[in-house]
Symmetry: C2
Subunit: 354 residues, 2 copies
């Protein structure tokens, strides 16, 4: 569950999924993952279909088009990015012990933890197979470059997860490392998606780097917004349990900013809550939420998020107006509830922001 599932956002996602790119990806996913009766394929199907938002592969296709390439030529590679994303979700659910994802049993819940570990591994291998599938989407040198980019992004994801685990319960370290952590954990695969699309679409190195930066900024903004959600929306409207980050002891940006703005007694309170476990949080949650809002931390975190949306949009300014650019701008705005997207949190008070 994340920000993208909040109702007002869903309309924008639905439009994307109904676009030519969305339909192409959905059609190819179903065609490439038929029911074979083999358990490994069944698990992959379970993880991949029905498809999620397909944000990353859609961004890859648009990045190819914006540089003059063809979405159809790179669809296999774009799906590879989705396989890697799915692999990380399958393993994340094992690590977090989660039984549900998007309202369905996780692979771990449906097939058991050992099988889920193997299924995630297999999806990683499928991701690399997709990049080198023949006919190659571009010149051999470009194919090699995108293999390297996907492998690097994969290692960044792992570094981000490791860093996140190390920050549990530690607001001070969180303050130092939060942005780097989400850049690795979430920004890296958005970055790779755009880089891969652009490179296979024929971009020169500089242009591919511009799109990679765009992707990374969008990913960072996306994660800040995800971390904001439990402070700006009700669980009913988002489906996200309001206490999940808190009960996992995660120092997310709103908490970090509230801590930095708080007086000493309030700081002690926040530290105490972060050290507690799920089930012990009932009374504390409203108090933390009030504190975070009162210290202006919701608005401040929203401001940080908007900075990254603006940076993403600024990268796109080098491209002439085109349908691809419009879609990528839209994703930056929609994903993060930016101006005009009308998602909860876009209208938080700004006066107290720092």
């Amino acid at each position: 569950m994340n920000v993208a599932d909040s109702p007002p956002f869903q309309n924008a996602i639905d439009r994307l999924l109904r676009s030519a790119s969305g339909r192409l990806l959905n059609r190819e996913l179903s065609r490439r993952w038929p029911e074979t009766g083999e358990q490994l394929d069944t698990m992959a199907r379970h993880a991949l279909l029905p498809a999620g938002k397909l944000l990353r592969p859609i961004m890859a296709l648009q990045a190819a088009e914006i540089v003059g390439g063809s979405a159809a030529d790179i669809v296999t590679a774009a799906l590879g990015v989705e396989y890697l994303h799915a692999a990380t979700l399958v393993h994340d659910d094992v690590i977090d012990g989660d039984a549900l994802r998007r309202g369905r049993p996780t692979v771990a819940a449906a097939f058991g933890v050992p099988s889920a570990i193997v299924s995630g591994d297999s999806l990683i291998f499928s991701a690399f197979e997709a990049l080198v599938d023949e006919p190659w989407a571009s010149t051999p040198a470009r194919v090699i470059a995108v293999v390297g980019a996907l492998a690097e992004a994969g290692r960044d994801l792992c570094r981000g997860q490791t860093l996140e685990a190390q920050l549990v319960g530690d607001i001070e370290a969180g303050a130092r490392w939060y942005l780097e952590m989400i850049r690795l954990k979430t920004g890296a695969l958005f970055r790779a998606a755009c880089y891969i699309g652009a490179t296979l679409g024929g971009a020169d190195t500089d242009t591919a780097s511009v799109l990679a930066r765009y992707g990374e900024h969008v990913g960072i903004a996306f994660q800040i917004r995800d971390d904001l959600l439990c402070y700006v929306a009700t669980p009913e409207s988002t489906g996200k349990p309001a206490s999940s980050d808190l009960s996992n002891g995660r120092p997310t940006l709103p908490l970090i900013l509230a801590y930095q703005a708080a007086a000493v007694p309030e700081r002690r309170e926040l530290l105490a809550v972060l050290g507690r476990r799920a089930g012990e949080l009932d009374g504390d949650l409203d108090r933390v939420r009030d504190l975070v809002t009162a210290r202006g931390a919701v608005a401040a975190a929203h401001g940080r998020m908007t900075e990254y949306v603006e940076r993403a949009l600024a990268e796109l300014a080098v491209f002439a107006p085109s349908p691809g650019r419009t879609v990528l701008e839209g994703i930056a705005r929609w994903t993060t509830g930016g101006p005009g997207a009308g998602v909860p949190g876009a209208d938080v008070p700004q006066g107290d922001a720092r």
Copy 2:
């Protein structure tokens, strides 16, 4: 723990590790994985160093040399094969709940299961990074081919593990699927190691396929021998708990062949033992061992293993004599305790073989 750790075999492995290839690989492993203080690197170091037998990367280097390539040029890619092997061990230990490997705590035991899952994933990504590291070991088209080969081998490993889990407790299914299962689970990465070495070493497609088949046959023989160990050697001499496969309900080749040769009451006995759990097996183990030997199944499984060694050696016959060919022949013989290797089990009675 596996066959390669039995004492007489260790001498051959020690010689390999002291060879130019072995020293090159060990030196590069230590150089590439320094202590950085980052937890992900620390876990990778734990999984990779001190190095194991390095059989697969040594085979990759020899495959390159036998086709006229240079071991030094492909050492990075050969290490990539080792990273993938290490990744599978890290995840296997999570899946099996094992706390020790080669006498040291597993990554899961030392760093926890969540970190071990992430560490295994990261090693997979490092494997692919190693293949595409610059300067490329060969032409771009060959680099792409080996990425595809490693990804395919990775998926085969996953299919083999899934199949193995499905065969638990089922001798009849085991009889049908055992060879395919070990071809996927163990043969695939030996195959990929040789294919990658040969391809980057400059082999044409046919020659690379010859070496790939050699590798697959060695891997199959290696696994049969591993499965034989608990019937032909004492735990003291091998370090392998005699009941591990039995208590996991795994229908390995000796058990399958004994079952096929047994009378109905004995079949019932074997089925009953395979259905029991660890801790309930004490009295049964000697009985099963006696039965497997009495039905000629040890000798028969040894015969099957020798067939695969012979097939591996036959593939090498197309190459002119060379130091590389001698090493690869030696690995086939040594790995599997073939003629002259003097490892336990090479001298089991042959008269009752079928």
